[in-house]
Symmetry: C2
């Protein structure tokens, strides 16, 4: 079971070497992450984009391009399609965003011919290692799904549970979060949380344990959970997955962790045929490398299925 990012990276070393196809690779932050991932034996990369610019950017950060396959394509969207097609065809194992806007990148992910669509809802999972918490936390959805319906929440849970399994968390505890831990008809999110819990109890959602609604202290702090009374609860401060009511709650907590707590994190887009790495400009270097490691572990799990 992976409890830290170092555990995840050790897990990667046990897998066959994975390849990440980068869409529009002429981006210094992305190339730095890709170079570190290669050096740390996390993944190899195929760089798709404007070859001249890729060489220029690599030189500016003293990065050697020896051992990288480069596919020269000056048009950004065409480059994205060529990169995603490599993953579609199995020549690469995961797909990563470079210097292309998110909208065009996602369009390539969903391309009917060469993309990675499965018909499932796409959702975002952010994995955190937090000082003081002894296992990885999987936050969803903090960046992609805005106001998920109950049905979409089911898909989000299913997508996230797959990521947990890939990371060696065999039966994750999923906490549908709210401000309160009791069902209150005036708070629709608590009704969704109750419904998700029922669906788990009736065996309609499997591979995990669901117990909600939960407030954040009951979900992540065993002391607080015991103090407030944890009788009959399946989660007692030991949640693995934090399911947020909507993107505002999720994103605000995500940024709160990044900017005020001592954390490591990595992100992945899921619900696709292969892992998609969609880091943002504001993610730091280690977050990008961690995201590639996460992608490698998930790609390995998908290749085994």
């Amino acid at each position: 079971m992976s409890k830290t990012f170092n555990d995840l990276i050790s897990k990667v070393s046990e897998c066959s070497v994975k390849k990440v196809a980068v869409a529009v690779a002429q981006d210094s932050a992305v190339l730095e992450a890709v170079a570190a991932a290669k050096e740390r034996k996390i993944a190899e990369a195929i760089l798709v984009g404007d070859e001249d610019k890729i060489k220029e950017v690599a030189a500016s950060i003293n990065m050697s391009l020896d051992g990288y396959e480069i596919i020269d394509e000056k048009d950004n969207y065409t480059a994205a399609l060529k990169a995603v097609e490599l993953v579609h065809n199995g020549q690469a194992d995961m797909y990563m965003k470079g210097l292309i806007d998110t909208k065009s990148f996602l369009k390539s992910v969903l391309d009917k011919e060469v993309g990675l669509r499965t018909g499932k809802t796409l959702s975002h999972v952010c994995v955190f290692e937090i000082d003081g918490i002894d296992h990885l936390l999987f936050l969803t959805d903090v960046a992609f799904m805005t106001y998920p319906t109950l049905e979409e929440k089911v898909h989000i849970v299913e997508n996230t549970v797959e990521i947990c399994h890939a990371c060696g968390v065999p039966n994750p505890k999923v906490a549908p979060l709210a401000a309160v831990e009791v069902v209150n008809p005036k708070m629709p999110v608590t009704l969704d949380a109750e419904e998700l819990t029922k669906m788990y109890e009736e065996g309609k959602i499997t591979g995990c344990i669901i117990d909600g609604p939960l407030s954040l202290d009951l979900a992540i702090d065993p002391e607080a959970a015991k103090h407030k009374g944890a009788e009959g609860r399946k989660i007692v401060g030991d949640a693995d997955v934090l399911l947020f009511p909507d993107i505002h709650a999720g994103n605000l907590v995500y940024k709160c962790l990044v900017h005020t707590a001592k954390v490591k994190n990595g992100n992945i887009l899921t619900g696709t045929k292969a892992p998609v790495i969609l880091t943002s400009r504001s993610d730091d270097f280690e977050t990008k490398v961690n995201s590639i490691a996460l992608g490698a572990v998930v790609a390995e799990a998908m290749s085994i299925q």
Copy 2:
């Protein structure tokens, strides 16, 4: 300007001595906080409740009751009414919840005869000192208002700005938060944030600066704000007030800070004639003492008006 809780407590020492009336005082955690507040010269207390039980609880925590006024009233709700009336009549400066359920306590706050209602919306303010942030942050509403309308958000901002002024923050920067920093008609909270900003620009909300919608990094992290581009923004990682979209987002961030970051905090209920201290069971000892200090500073500011 108070930048830490120590600053706030120094501010208290410059005020006349304040008195807190405690509703149903026979609670060990509340008595401990009240005793610490007295010892640190933050506030005196009038203890209303079952005198025998108060003495019993005080003995169990080795607390001397010398110098405390005790009003013996065995019925809990009557005790609350007697305690709130002391504040209503000016014999005490702030009102604090003891061993009584929140609903009954709030009913006493809103009592038409002896309560503290002003006709304004009640709202909750949580003040945080956070390791790595060089000034106090005022979070609202993380505990009381569930899904505030635009009109209620205006009242919440006005209530909170009063607390900021009392704490020596003369022109607080108010950040209406969302997952994103651009207005998006598909995200109603960003429309409210835009409207609040307009109301500020048109002089309809005064005593503060409002700039939203803002994501949390742009609100609290100057580096992130500069990195993402801060042109034309009035808040560049230096927000004082964080206005949350709803109680779920607010409460989840609040608990995230308490359980994963290095913080001090104190809470107050506002929109009332006098400060109301409504700490919860899960608040630790220092949080309760900080809340009394916050109440004392706010009571002083209210007495001057």
